[in-house]
């Protein structure tokens, strides 16, 4: 069996004395979309940062194609084909859309390829084409999110790490962006590790999912099975059985089965 594209084993990551991730293992196979769910502070962003090298883990391994890459410099890891689209978009506000996209391709020498990929990106995000000369700071939140994903794509990564693409966007825009994420996966063969609080869209766009809570994994499974789980329904999708009084305010104890 081939090694998974990305594998995390027993990762422990600290912020100073604070243990943000206390032993997390997961894997992403080539061609998959994998979702990581969790509430605020569960350690999802820390997990992605550890994978992309922005943070170093104190324990455990990060494996890309079965080779250990933990604690390498983030730019080196990026060159191995891992693109990280950070939470909150983080586009370069004083650069134009074109320049932002060029930044995404900073380590590529194949001018033709870059031009082709820029064209591809404009196909997926036509609005970016219209705004190509505009400064990124003037773009709306949704447009910036699209730009951030497009910028990530322009490094022609093998693995795209997406940190909460739905953050602060309207439901319509979230649906639009997730539709594009699914297309990127299917049409471009892009492998995606997706971190989300919006469980509904994330599980529908992915084939497998993990659930994190206070720095640890509490559940994993196929996205369909997670959507059916009682705890996911109650705690992430906000669906409760009505209860006897027509509404139930108290929460059941989580069991993660």
């Amino acid at each position: 069996m081939n090694a998974p594209l990305l594998e995390l084993r027993n990762i422990e990551t600290y912020y100073g004395p604070i243990m943000a991730i206390r032993g997390v293992s997961l894997k992403v196979d080539e061609g998959e979309v994998v979702a990581v769910l969790g509430s605020n502070g569960a350690g999802k962003t820390t997990l992605l940062k550890t994978a992309s090298g922005a943070l170093d883990s104190r324990k455990g391994q990060v494996l890309l194609d079965g080779n250990e890459i933990q604690c390498r410099d983030p730019d080196w890891i990026a060159r191995q084909g891992v693109a990280h689209v950070p939470e909150g978009r983080e586009v370069f506000p004083f650069l134009t859309v074109d320049e932002n996209l060029a930044m995404g391709a900073f380590n590529r020498r194949d001018k033709d390829g870059v031009a082709k990929d820029t064209a591809t990106v404009f196909e997926y995000f036509p609005i970016l084409k219209d705004l190509h000369a505009k400064m990124a700071g003037y773009l709306s939140g949704g447009q910036q999110q699209m730009l951030a994903i497009a910028r990530g794509f322009l490094s022609r990564p093998r693995l795209l790490l997406l940190d909460e693409p739905s953050l602060g966007l309207s439901p319509a825009l979230v649906a639009e962006i997730f539709a594009i994420i699914e297309r990127l996966n299917k049409e471009q063969g892009l492998t995606i590790l997706l971190v989300e609080q919006n469980a509904n869209v994330a599980l529908k766009a992915s084939s497998r999912g993990y659930v994190m809570e206070v720095g640890g994994m509490v559940m994993d499974g196929t996205s369909d099975s997670l959507l059916e789980s009682e705890d996911i329904k109650e705690f992430y999708l906000g669906k409760k059985d009505e209860g006897i009084r027509g509404r139930r305010r108290w929460k059941k104890r989580k069991t993660w089965r």
Partner: protein, 608 residues
């Protein structure tokens, strides 16, 4: 009944009489503390009497008659005791219901006890009643301790507890001596408490406890149960269980200890550490937890730390072994122990919250001898108590006498004998009055005045009782060999990686077991040994973890005979909670239930 007339404490023969007398005498002394938004709030004996009194008056104004049943469905909190004592002051009978019960179980005990008034903790517990209210026409009023989330909710039977307090205070204003009069009319033979024993087979049975039972338990302190007026205790086991009722309900009313409510079942360890109680009663599970915490911490410690612990434990063990052998430790042993205690044990005790405790007690389940020895080595002798709902606490180990593996001699005036089958029989003037509505069950339990405990045991020549096992749990293998599972289970549970175990083998070729791993410690093991896992199920499936448990079992097998060797085992790969039927409210695996639920897993160990 002979001897019952001697059951008098402080001139009182019932709890209501004693409560009225003592709470008046103690007035502004602190009776209990409970956290409110993270800050400890104190309640005096005056407060206790006032709240309980208001409830009593309120129930009387609603027409409560003597011997009417009042039920409480709640986690431990001050209102639990207010309602408990209030109901008794009004002449009622109290039925505590486990807060982990599902609505059908709640319905059963409410119907069986013909309950008229129900107290529930909050909307979650209230919903259990509402789900089955149509089947419960006998319930007249339901009072909710915590009205949060119910604003705007209207139901002609449901009220906030505050409404009852007000109603009661008003009713009591014109009848200042009513509660004293009701108490005076009460006798020691009145039914006081119903305790539904969690039936592992069939329906739960409601054991009827009379007033004299309560008084007798109060009288066993401070001589046999060493709780005194100056004690601080932590209340964390369900109050509907007879043990916590004795320690946090009855004994403080008789002797004046201060109780502190744990914030929740999950925070018991933190609350213990924070309070450092002076008298601690805990179930073996808690004592096991302390031990595994220390063991895990020590495995992480520096080389010097490990060495220091090792040397200290050796010194402590040396002294403990002398004590256990009945030999006086030499001066040198004592000096070594004192140094170890100063330098090492005192820190451990402080981190666990055991540093102020003058008395530690264990009961309600069997405990491993290795564990008792470990505590004794640290200079913390654990008293063992034995009893059951039907008999009360009837044996205790005595101070300064160390007989590992025994639960001590009988506490007078109870009597004890072992019948020809090995079953322990108890007789006392205060034992329970039988099971409610179950004359047949009562007749097979109380025979010629002796309570058949269903436990097997032996007496040594000094009268110390040793419990072998539950009569019905004794395993007879296909080869005809008798095996006592609890002995092996306790050894298994002594491992920090094993939370609970059930030994199987009745009418089978060989003996096997099901293991519930200790999540915290096994996850920690996996982390330090680079064993990747995601959730609990995947952890249980890891070969390394199965090997870890296998190694522990191999070690334990060495101490048992060939026929008793555990040939195979399986891990239960579902993380169980107190709500699950497999577990008792004190988080023990229920043997019969496990046998049924995991039958395929069990059969897989026998080639099925």
């Amino acid at each position: 009944m002979s001897g019952a007339r001697d059951l008098i404490i402080n001139g009182c023969d019932t709890l209501p009489k004693l409560f009225l007398k003592n709470s008046a005498a103690w007035g502004d002394r602190i009776a209990m503390r409970e956290k409110d938004f993270g800050i400890w709030q104190s309640y005096t004996w005056n407060d206790y009497r006032e709240y309980a009194g208001s409830i009593a008056f309120g129930l009387l104004s609603l027409g409560l008659k003597r011997n009417d049943a009042v039920s409480i469905l709640s986690e431990d909190c001050k209102e639990w005791l207010f309602a408990d004592i209030g109901g008794l002051l009004a002449g009622g009978v109290i039925n505590g219901i486990y807060p982990t019960f599902q609505s059908n179980q709640v319905e059963y005990t409410l119907t069986d006890s013909a309950c008229r008034f129900l107290f529930v903790e909050d909307e979650e517990q209230l919903d259990k009643y509402l789900e089955v209210e149509d089947a419960l026409p006998n319930i007249e009023k339901v009072f909710v301790f915590d009205w949060k989330g119910l604003r705007g909710f209207e139901h002609d039977k449901v009220q906030a507890i505050e409404v009852l307090y007000e109603r009661g205070a008003e009713y009591g204003r014109d009848r200042p001596s009513l509660l004293d009069e009701i108490a005076e009319q009460g006798t020691r033979d009145d039914l006081a408490i119903l305790i539904y024993t969690s039936g592992t087979t069939g329906r739960p049975k409601g054991a009827m406890l009379p007033q004299r039972y309560i008084v007798a338990q109060m009288m066993s302190a401070p001589d046999y149960i060493r709780q005194t007026a100056s004690d601080e205790i932590l209340t964390y086991l369900p109050l509907c269980h007879v043990a916590e009722r004795i320690f946090s309900g009855w004994l403080p009313i008789a002797h004046g200890a201060t109780i502190n409510f744990a914030e929740s079942p999950e925070t018991v360890m933190q609350n213990l550490q924070e309070l450092s109680p002076t008298y601690i009663f805990a179930v073996p599970r808690v004592w096991e937890k302390f031990y595994s915490r220390v063991t895990t911490a020590m495995s992480e410690a520096t080389w010097i730390g490990k060495k220091a612990y090792e040397i200290a434990l050796a010194a402590g063990t040396r002294r403990a072994e002398k004590l256990l052998a009945g030999v006086k430790p030499t001066l040198m042993d004592e000096i070594r122990f004192q140094i170890a205690n100063r330098l090492v044990f005192s820190n451990i005790k402080k981190t666990l919250g055991l540093d102020r405790a003058h008395s530690l007690a264990t009961g309600a389940a069997p405990i491993s001898e290795s564990l008792l020895k470990w505590y004794l080595s640290m200079g913390l002798p654990l008293d063992e108590l034995y009893g059951q709902t039907e008999t009360g606490i009837v044996t205790t180990t005595r101070k300064g006498v160390f007989r590992l593996g025994t639960v001590g001699p009988i506490v007078p005036p109870a009597e004890l004998k072992i019948d020809t089958s090995g079953e322990i029989l108890i007789r006392s003037p205060y034992q329970f009055d039988g099971y409610l509505n179950l004359p047949d069950k009562t007749a097979t339990t109380i025979i010629d005045g002796w309570v058949h405990t269903g436990d097997i045991g032996t007496l040594d020549d000094e009268g110390n009782l040793s419990i072998t096992d539950r009569l019905k749990d004794i395993i007879i293998t296909a080869g005809g060999k008798n095996i006592t599972p609890s002995l092996m289970e306790n050894e298994l549970k002594f491992s920090p990686f094993i939370s609970d175990a059930v030994v199987i083998g009745d009418r089978r070729k060989y003996v096997t077991c099901l293991i519930m791993i200790d999540q915290e410690n096994v996850e920690h093991y996996a982390q330090t040994h680079a064993v990747p896992f995601t959730d609990y199920k995947s952890l249980c499936a890891r070969e390394e973890i199965v090997d870890l448990i296998g190694g522990i079992i191999d070690g334990i097998n060495k101490g048992f005979s060939q026929a008793e060797t555990l040939k195979k085992f399986r891990l239960i790969d579902v993380l169980l909670t107190a709500e699950d039927e497999e577990l008792t409210p004190t988080m023990k695996l229920k043997r019969s239930f496990v046998n049924e639920k995991y039958s395929t897993l069990i059969e897989s160990m026998y080639g099925g």
